[in-house]
Structure formats: C-alpha cells, structure tokens
Symmetry: D2
Subunit: 293 residues, 4 copies
C-alpha cells in the first residue's frame, strides 16, 4: 500500500507501474491521469481517471471495454485473466457455478456479445449471481450507446475498488457497506444472548449459499458485522435466527414443537455501500423485524 | 350420517354395523357400548366407548392394538387395510413417501415392533410426517405399560374422528382446529388486499410440501381459513406472503431488489384442536408477526 | 319508529308530521319531498330531501340555515331549541362547557355570524368539541358561497341522523362507525384476559373526558365495542390499557416500578362512519399498536 | 477535584477536610477510614468507609442517622442544611413542592419520625417525588432494626455520590444510568429526522414535569442522551414523540386529524444505574416501542 502523498511524488513510470491496471490492460489511462498530479484526495484521483476515460475517443473506449474478460469464462480463458479479474469473479462465486448455472451465464454472455459486439461488464464485487443475471437481462434491452455508457460506469467502479487495494485510504471515498443484526428478547426485556445466527445468500438458480455464522454476544449482537469492509453484493439474503434452542434453554415454551423455532428473515440488498441493520425483537410467540439504522 | 337420536334407537345389530369399526376390527367395543344406551351426547358416547376399552382385559387390549396396521406399510399390506386406515394415512402424506422416507419409517416401525411386540399406533390425522417420526423416537424410550396406555389414547382419538364422519355433530366434541391469517398494511393503514399467500408443511426429511394457496380479500384475509374443519396436523409450517408484487403494484419502493419481497413466516403447530391465527403487519421496510387469536 | 313501507303510504299531513323537522323548522322540505313518493329505499328518501333543498331558492336556503340555533347557546336560548337540537348538542358535551370553553365557543360563533350573517352549522353528532372549534376556525377563512354549500351539506347530515331515529333501517345508509380494541399478550401467546381499559376523549381546551371503561374478556376484547351504533365523533382519543396489574397478577416483572404499567395509546378519528380497530400486542417490555381492521 | 493518588498522600487533617462530610456531619468516619490508607481504587475507598460505619457502635450509627435533615424540610431548617443536602434535595424537585405535596411529605416524615425516632433517609438523587413517597410508605411497615440497616445503605449511597463530586473517577464505581431513544420511520425505511421529543417525569401527586426536550438528528437519535451522567431517578416517565408534524412535513396522511399525532410512551425506571433505551418504530398508522439495549 502506498500513501497518496507518495503517489503524488512518483515519476510517471512508477505511477503507471502502480496504477496501470486499475483500468484493465489500459496503461494509457494512468499515463494521461499522471499529468493531472498532484491529487488532493483519492476522490480527486478517481475523478481524474474517470474524466480521462470519458474524454478518450470512441475507439479507445471500445478497446478498454473489450479488454475485459467474459464473466464466468474461467475455464476457457483462465490463463488470460488479470489477477484482479480472477479475484473479483471468485468473490461473487463465479468460479463455483454449477453446470446448469454456467450454461445460463454462457448463454447470457453470448447473447450480450452477439448484440453489442463487446463483453458484458459489471463490477462483480457489488453483485451476487442473481443480480448479475438480472442485470444482463435488463441491459440486453438497452441500445448500444447506453450500454457503452453503462459499461464505463461499471469500469470506473471496478477501478475504484482496485485502487482501494493499492492506496492508503483518506476517507474521501466510501466503497464499503455493512450488514448487522441485533436480537432483543422482549419476553424478558433485554438482549438475547447466545442465539445462533446464519446468513445465507439466496439464489433463484440454486440453493442458498451460507455466507457466515455467528452467536449473539451479551449485547445481543454478533461480535463482527455479518458483512463489512467491502461492498454488500446486491442480492437477496436470509438471516436465520435459532430461537427455539435459545428459549428452550431458558425453560420457556419448551415443547417438542415450539411456535417459533428457526426464524427466517429474508430481505434484499439494493445499495452495496449502505448500512443494513436487520434486527429481531422476539418473544416465543411473536417477532418484529425491520430495516434499522 | 345418522343422528344421535336415530343411533340411540337402533337395535344392537344395526348399532354394531354402524359403529363396529371405529375401533379397528373390534366389534366387541360397539357391542358392549351398546348396552350403555341411550347416550346424552356424542361426548358421552365416546366416553362410553373409551370406558369399555379401558375396562377390557389385557389380552383384549393387546388384540385391539395389534389389529392396527403398521404406518406407511401401504405397499406390502394395502389389501388388508380398512378403508378408514387408508384414508387416514393418505391424509398425512404417508402414501407418498419418497424411497428414503419410506426406509426411515420402516426402520422406525421395525424398531418399535421389536421392542414392544405390537405396531406403533398414532392418530395420523393429528400429525405430519415429521411429528410422527418425532413421536416414534420419543415413544421408543418408554416402557411397555406406558406404551399400551399411549396406544389406547391414540386409538380413542382415531375412534373419535371416525365417529365424527358417521354421526351428525352436536357440538359436544371439538375435533377440529383452524389456521388463519390476516395481512395488514401499516404503510397505508388498512388491510393488504390481493396479497398472494402460500402455506407449506415443512419437513426435516424432505422439501416443503405446498398445502394451499390463497389471495387476501378486501379485509386482508383469505376467504377460507388456511386449514380448518379437521385437526391441524402437529408439525412445522411456513406461510409465504408475496409482499414484493403487492407493494410494487402500489408504486412503493418498486425496485428490482426491494427490501421485502417474499416474506416467510415459519411456525410450529403443537395443538391440533386449537385456533392458530398468524397475522402479518407489514410495510415495505418492516413486519411483525405473532400468534394471534 | 315507522317502516319505509308505512311511510310511503302516509297522506301528506301525516308524512309532514313525521318528517317535518328533520330539516330544522322547515316543513316545506317534507311537503315537497312528499310528492316524490314512493321511495325505494331510505337512501333514496334522503337523496330526495337533499335534492329538494338543493333546488330551493336562495332565500329559502338562507332561511333554512338561519333556523338553526347557535352552537352551545344553551343558556340564552334553551327554550327555543328543538328537542332534536338539544339532544345533539348534549351528545358532544356542548351542554357541559366550562366557563372558559363557553367563552371561546361564543366568541367563535360571534365571529362567524359577524362574517356570514348566519349561524355556524355543523352536524355535532359527528364531532367533538375540539373538532368543532377546528372547523369554525377553518371555515371562517371561506367565502360566503362556499359556506352556504358547506352549511347545507351539514344540514343534510343532521337530517340523515334525525331520520335514522324515526324510520326502521333498511341497510342502504351507513351512519355509524365503530371503535374496537383487542389485547394480545405476546409474552404467553394468547389473549390478555381481564385488562382494564379506559377510553378518553382528549381536548386541547380542557382535561380528558372519560367515555367508557371496559375489561377484556377471554378473547382479549371488550364485550361491547368501545364506541358503536353512532357516528364516531371526529377528534383525538386515548385508550389506557392497565397492563401493570395484569402482568403483576401473573407474577411477571412484578415490582413497585414495572417498565410498563398504564399504557396510553393516543389516536385521531377522522372518519365518523369507519371502523377503527386499535389493538395492543404487549409484553412486560414492549408493545405494538396500529390501526387494524 | 483531587486524584486518588493525591488523596492517598494527604495528611489526616487534610484528608478529613476533603472527605469529612461525605457522611453528613460525621468527621469520625473520615478520621477512622484514613487509617486504612492507601486505597487501591475508589471502590476500595468507599468500601472502607462503609465498613467503618458498619463497625461503629449503635449510638454512633444512630447519631449519624440523626445528623440527616428531614426531607423537604426546607422552609423550617434551610439554615441548617449542609450544602450537599440542599443540592441533593433540589435535584429531586423537593425544593419546589406545591402546598399540597409539602403537606403530604410533612405528614409522612412525621409518621416515620414518630415510629422510629429518627428521620427518614433516602438517597434522593436516585429518586423522584413519587418513588420517595412510595418508599416512605413501604418502609413505615418495617421494624426498627431493618430501618436502621436500610438507612445506612442509603447513607452509603449518598456518600458514594458525594465522593464522586470530589475525586477524579477511576472507573471502579458505576453511579450513573442512561436514558436514550431512537425513532425509526418504517414507512420510508430509515431514521426519522427532525422529530420533536419531550421527556416528562410523571407524578401521582401532580402534573407531569418537563425534564428535557430534543430533536432527532440524521440518525434518528437525540444528540445527547435524554438523561445521563447521573443516577436515573426511580420513577415513572413519559416520552412524547411529535409524529404528526413529522409525517405532515413529508406529505403523508396530512389531515387535520391524523391517526397518530403526539405519541406518548410511558414507562417506569426501577434501576438508576442501568441503561434504558426506549425506541420508537413508527409509521403514520402504527408503532412499536420496547426496552432496547
């Protein structure tokens, strides 16, 4: 990691060596941005990059777009992928598609390439499999100009996340979201301690994917946020709160068949950089959940 | 259907012809009960039957128990099942077990028979596959005397439900439960109209089984109760409320990825003869559910 | 009470004798409406009356309006009030104004009369003291034509309620609302039985006025609705649920200073002919209330 | 304020000058405690004081108790009160009793003194007028030995709070509680910003006493806790949330008579050193409140 100050003092070659791939295979973006030095903040640096790309010619833009790999095209072209691309696609689970899922992705990608003659580009770190598929389907309806615009916006987002991994943060750019929960036992009027919690990513294509497990602490929260330190992938999720064992351990309504046992809360995340707080107020006979803050 | 009055006036032969099989293959129960005529109510009639069985000798009791078929033993002995037994087992889905489920049931039945030397008896109309399995496991721990007692209680329950199908009700016996719901839209302050609802029976063994679907009417309720007119099978259930389309149709929070879309409410039913009211108070950002009344 | 059929068969003199005062001191309304006989329903009869008044001349309309007494002018003119007017004003508590309230009403009435040269008319059975004052203040801003219209609408409403007291209902006119409640104890998962409930009408002018008290029955409801069988007066209300004694009697959280004791729920009623259901879902540590259905 | 270190190094005279009045008019408590120096923590220092008093003779204990002024005896003996006592009684509003309240306090004090021959002592900073009265009534039922014990416990509490004002805190003693709130608008799914909030102390004797007002910030909270940095006086409170103007400003359900306008939440505080979080989840048609964490 380099500081912004140090970055501002690099010579052009070094600058390009550091940042030449935040726009995929496109060192000219860094070369031209270098001239706008010094940068007052990381936000300004990213703006400068985006501006350079925006002002480049149509041929250059198209070349930039075409430099990107197909999504989920891992088997065929793994050798060609930049390290950054590999890491990003892995994050969304695109390296673990089932045969059926892979077919759907391939067909979608092909349809997109057939229509626009360039690959479908999306900042995968902000997405789940489901939201990527939804995006392809929606964007297939667009015209070519609109799609070039959209692709460039996504490329800027990818660049921002790649830059984040290289330069020390200065607080001017917010790229991460946060998913947290809290279990409040309104039967005894305090935090519910020791409740097992599981977070799943849901998918229309396949089975739920376990993302993380946790146990509520003395404050009724998990020690760490359920997701944090990264964009929250746009998608549908389910938190499962194991209330049955919790209440049984307290001798409440302890039957073989309690009214509430495993309590699922299903919700969508639409804004990757936001804070989603999804608490549960619960008794053995009722619960309330909501998007909190 | 015959009225209690008419029943009271039947001769013994006719009485036994009508009621001889409410205790499986055991006409002597009806023959002896006949002597206690006339019956002031259906409740008294059932009490009389239960009393006769209770006062019978150990050999008779054991014979009565052994007259019952194995659960889920449909393939092997379908020809021998009384019509009543067939209908009852069908209701709990025991005629549609997957291979794997059938194996488990067979193994459990065998373990039970090995231990007690009589078949496992349970009033299946008050149960789901899950609760039957839970019951076998629990009852395998019992001693033989306790199990004879339990089997007779279950046989009385079976008899009560069989009698219900034969004699006009007089309100003295409650054999049915009721599951209802209500969707209240606290975003606009009125019933949520036109919400699609599905009720599933959950199972630890297999996939959820759809029981019924409905649409909320102008009062936010389904026109008919989700389950009614019969005992509610002890088990775990999930109601799915399709709130996404409902709010989208009202132009509220209509995005590709709404916070709430399909809202699952999962709960257990432990008391087959009770009323379970499971309502939903919902906005696009929150909901509350509870066991209501 | 007379039936609509009987009414349809009356001669003119009798018809006017029955209905001559549903429009205050204005027998011609009944005389002219008589010609439109027979009436298919009570709704048609009321429409016919309203139509006659609407089609009358400006002088007649003004005379009709001026036939009405000042609100709360009880002391000065009690002798002149029709029995109907007396009863109506009593219902809204206008016969029990404190000195200070009476002053405010008098001043408002005077300001209204000074501006429009006719008395302020409102269907008091649909109002509380507070909403009457709010209405005078709002209507003082109107022009004269608009106020004549508004006065006639209110006179029609008064007539409908007076007619309701005279003719057997046929279900074509809805003049009553309903306020109900329900207390659900989500600590033990059933209706809260034996909770003392008080309903107050709130007032910006004075202290809360007790309207009714009740105790929840085995279903967690009051045996009778809190208000019913009449229009719900537009206004602000508070239901007080005495949860402290209820939970203390169950040995729960029984301290000198429970978290929840007397739980107030304050709400406005804007629609006199609607059903307001205001339930409470409550534990010793939480509650939820809402406009239900 | 002096640090514990500095205190540990004082000579006896200085030590007594600093701490001689944390037990009212009782320098011997400080003189004897001085011998136990040095103190590892403030908690140890307080324990040492309490131990000295506990080990003192019956006559000394009684003298210590009798050194305390009558509660609310301000008019008659104001000249004699220590500064500490004055400040403490002022905090609970005991210097602002109405004539009627003063009468009740005087009568209670007199009854207590008549029975026990010493004044009623309570750590007033942990109480409201209501809870003080409740305590006198309860303690009048006790025997004399129990009351001497109770009085000494209260005197230790008074001493701890007096010491807190003199010595720099070291985190070993928790003497303060915290009351906070949070308003979440589940109609739009985020914090409710700009809601006016008032906190009142309720009283069975008189009218509610305004304690503080606040406005919710961008996070739906008040910038400062509603009460903090001191014991929360045991008593009954009401928070009033002005939701009517909030929703009206957002164009929601904006009528003259909204369903929810001023939303009162009434609750008891029983534990002065605890955190009470009392949030509101609210739409124009519903709300939920609870003891949170």
């Amino acid at each position: 990691m380099i500081s912004l100050d140090a970055l501002n003092q690099l010579g052009e070659t070094e600058f390009v060596r550091h940042l030449g791939n935040i726009y995929e295979h496109t060192p000219w973006a860094a070369e031209r941005t270098y001239k706008a030095r010094p940068f007052a903040s990381i936000a300004s640096l990213l703006d400068a990059f985006a501006q350079i790309v925006k002002e480049s010619g149509d041929t250059e833009k198209l070349a930039l777009i075409k430099n990107h790999p197909e999504l989920a095209d891992k088997l065929a072209r793994a050798g060609d992928l930049t390290e950054e691309s590999q890491r990003e696609q892995r994050g969304a689970g695109l390296d673990q598609l089932s045969g059926c899922e892979f077919d759907i992705f391939s067909r979608m990608n092909q349809a997109y390439r057939d229509k626009f003659a360039f690959p479908f580009i999306i900042c995968v770190r902000r997405h789940t499999k489901d939201s990527i598929l939804a995006a392809v389907q929606r964007r297939l309806e667009h015209g070519r100009e609109a799609e070039i615009e959209t692709a460039l916006v996504e490329i800027d987002r990818i660049a921002a996340l790649r830059l984040e991994a290289l330069v020390e943060p200065d607080g001017t750019v917010k790229l991460d979201g946060r998913l947290s929960t809290h279990v409040l036992d309104t039967h005894h009027g305090g935090p519910a301690v020791g409740v097992a919690i599981s977070l799943y990513e849901l998918s229309r294509l396949g089975t739920p994917r376990l993302i993380t497990r946790g146990i509520t602490n003395v404050d009724g929260r998990t020690d760490a946020a359920l997701m944090a330190g990264r964009p929250l992938p746009i998608g549908r999720y389910e938190i499962c709160f194991e209330m049955g064992p919790y209440f049984a351990a307290r001798g409440i309504a302890a039957t073989d068949m309690p009214f509430l046992d495993s309590v699922p809360v299903r919700f969508g995340i639409a804004d990757p950089e936001a804070h989603y707080h999804v608490p549960l107020l619960v008794t053995p006979w009722s619960y309330t959940t909501y998007r909190g803050s």
